[in-house]
């Protein structure tokens, strides 16, 4: 498997948030062992050498954990493989001669900054509204003072693996952020440390989520299916439950 692959890319170009965008076509020769982003590196190198503007895209760790890379590839966030971020997607998932369309995350709450880069500050503001445990440094009791059943810790961990990339929003037909919010709410609602703020947290986070312009959930399941960390849909059910519980208690 070391033959060259001729790929045609249709890439979204947009100068800045207020500009209107368009698609641009580029040819690039790739190698099956390259990651998708390395193919973009090669393309950008070509563009720079020929005096053209390289394509702006977000990326950082390139090992699937920082959540910075995005890209909707042929209509699917992070491309065709499940449970994988764009940076971990390799060209062997495509065929020689393929035409690949690459677009940015599209959501009102994620305005495009340039080309394929978007602003995901809305996620930070949601966390800032309540996605934490209010414990100042120095206030902690011994880490083994509160026992947490393994099963509970594992469930909290599963929810906590969310990388905040926004694939859920970009996949959802309503651009809903319920999977992201549900993951954080579930993590902290499961753990004993999250109990004191359990109700105020969920209400504050949902209010912020609504204020940011994310859509409402219609349970299509697209978010979870496209989530590179495979956060389960049950976190959304849990978010609903936590929210109603808080509301019934007058929060």
């Amino acid at each position: 498997m070391n033959h060259d692959m001729n790929i045609t890319l249709k890439v979204w170009r947009q100068e800045n948030t207020n500009a209107s965008g368009r698609f641009e076509e580029h040819k690039v020769v790739a190698n099956p062992d390259m990651s998708f982003l390395e193919m973009f590196d090669v393309l950008n190198e070509q563009l720079i050498e020929t005096g053209k503007e390289p394509i702006a895209f977000d990326h950082d760790c390139r090992e699937g954990i920082c959540g910075m890379c995005s890209m909707v590839i042929n209509g699917r966030p992070h491309g065709p493989k499940r449970g994988v971020t764009t940076c971990q997607l390799h060209m062997r998932s495509f065929k020689d001669g393929d035409t690949i369309t690459v677009e940015p995350w599209r959501a009102n709450a994620f305005p495009v900054i340039k080309d394929l880069s978007v602003n995901r500050g809305a996620f930070d503001r949601i966390i800032s509204a309540g996605g934490f445990v209010s414990v100042n440094t120095g206030n902690a009791v011994d880490a083994n003072a509160i026992l947490i059943p393994k099963e509970v810790a594992d469930e909290a961990f599963e929810a906590a693996t969310c990388i905040g990339c926004g694939a859920c929003v970009s996949a959802c037909k309503n651009a809903s952020a319920m999977l992201f919010v549900g993951a954080k709410v579930t993590q902290l609602a499961k753990l004993p440390q999250g109990q004191p703020e359990r109700e105020t947290r969920v209400v504050a986070m949902v209010n912020q989520m609504d204020a940011e312009g994310f859509g409402a959930c219609t349970n299509t399941g697209a978010c979870s299916a496209e989530c590179p960390k495979q956060i389960p849909l049950s976190v959304i059910a849990n978010l609903n439950k936590e929210y109603y519980r808080a509301k019934m208690n007058g929060k």
Binding site: G75, E103, N108, V206, T220, A222, A237, Y244, G250
Partner: protein, 222 residues
């Protein structure tokens, strides 16, 4: 008051209304289907008419009818509101969309399916409910059953009813289990049960409904 304002102000509140009214309407479907299925006694509509009479003239059933309409209207209004706002959450749509890779078409088309069902309902209510309630045209001679048989002599009506039931089926296929998910019920042992029940429900009930105009049109029920 404040306690319930979230039902109309937050996205999760609106969803809760969709879920609760949806489940309420689902229970209504069971009753409705059960009574209608009495035509399969094939006794010239005798039993069916008795039931219709009971449904039409018992005070607490009438009271529940008001509740039913409130539920229906809430479901429709909130649904349309959510569908219209949800449709505007992106500055522009994807040029390439592979939504089928991550979700079913009917789960993404609840607004459309719901609208078709609503249009169907207008026709359906005009056929029966308006006749009975407002035109008072139902009497000993012109029974509910005879009205039914008359309506379903028209092939257009049969087609409309079958399409309505088909929309209902897909609407339920997603809506049934979605209602429980919205309520916050997602459990590794119960959810598969809910999903299986939901699937069978979504097939059986609309099928029974759809079978009525068809069998009457074909003259199997007299």
């Amino acid at each position: 008051m404040n306690l319930f304002s979230f039902l109309f102000s937050s996205s999760l509140g609106r969803k809760l209304i969709m879920s609760l009214t949806g489940i309420f309407l689902i229970t209504f479907l069971v009753v409705h289907c059960g009574i209608n299925a009495l035509i399969y006694m094939n006794d010239g509509g005798e039993t069916f008419n008795l039931a219709a009479e009971f449904m039409g003239h018992t005070w607490y059933i009438r009271a529940m009818e008001i509740g039913l309409f409130v539920g229906l209207i809430l479901h429709v209004v909130q649904g349309l509101y959510l569908a219209s706002t949800n449709a505007n959450r992106r500055p522009q749509n994807y040029a390439v969309n592979s939504a089928s890779a991550n979700s079913t078409w009917y789960s993404r088309s609840m607004g459309l399916l719901g609208t078709i069902i609503l249009l169907f309902l207008v026709v359906h209510l005009r056929h029966f409910w308006v006749e009975a309630r407002f035109l008072h045209s139902i009497n000993d001679k012109n029974t509910m059953f005879t009205v039914m048989v008359a309506v379903f002599q028209n092939p257009m009506a049969v087609v409309i009813y079958v399409l309505g039931c088909l929309s209902l089926s897909y609407h339920l296929l997603h809506g049934f289990q979605s209602a429980f998910q919205t309520l916050g019920i997602n459990h590794k042992s119960y959810t598969p049960i809910i999903q299986t029940v939901g699937t069978w429900f979504s097939i059986i009930i609309p099928f029974l409904f759809a079978s009525m105009p068809v069998t009457i049109f074909l003259g199997l029920i007299k």
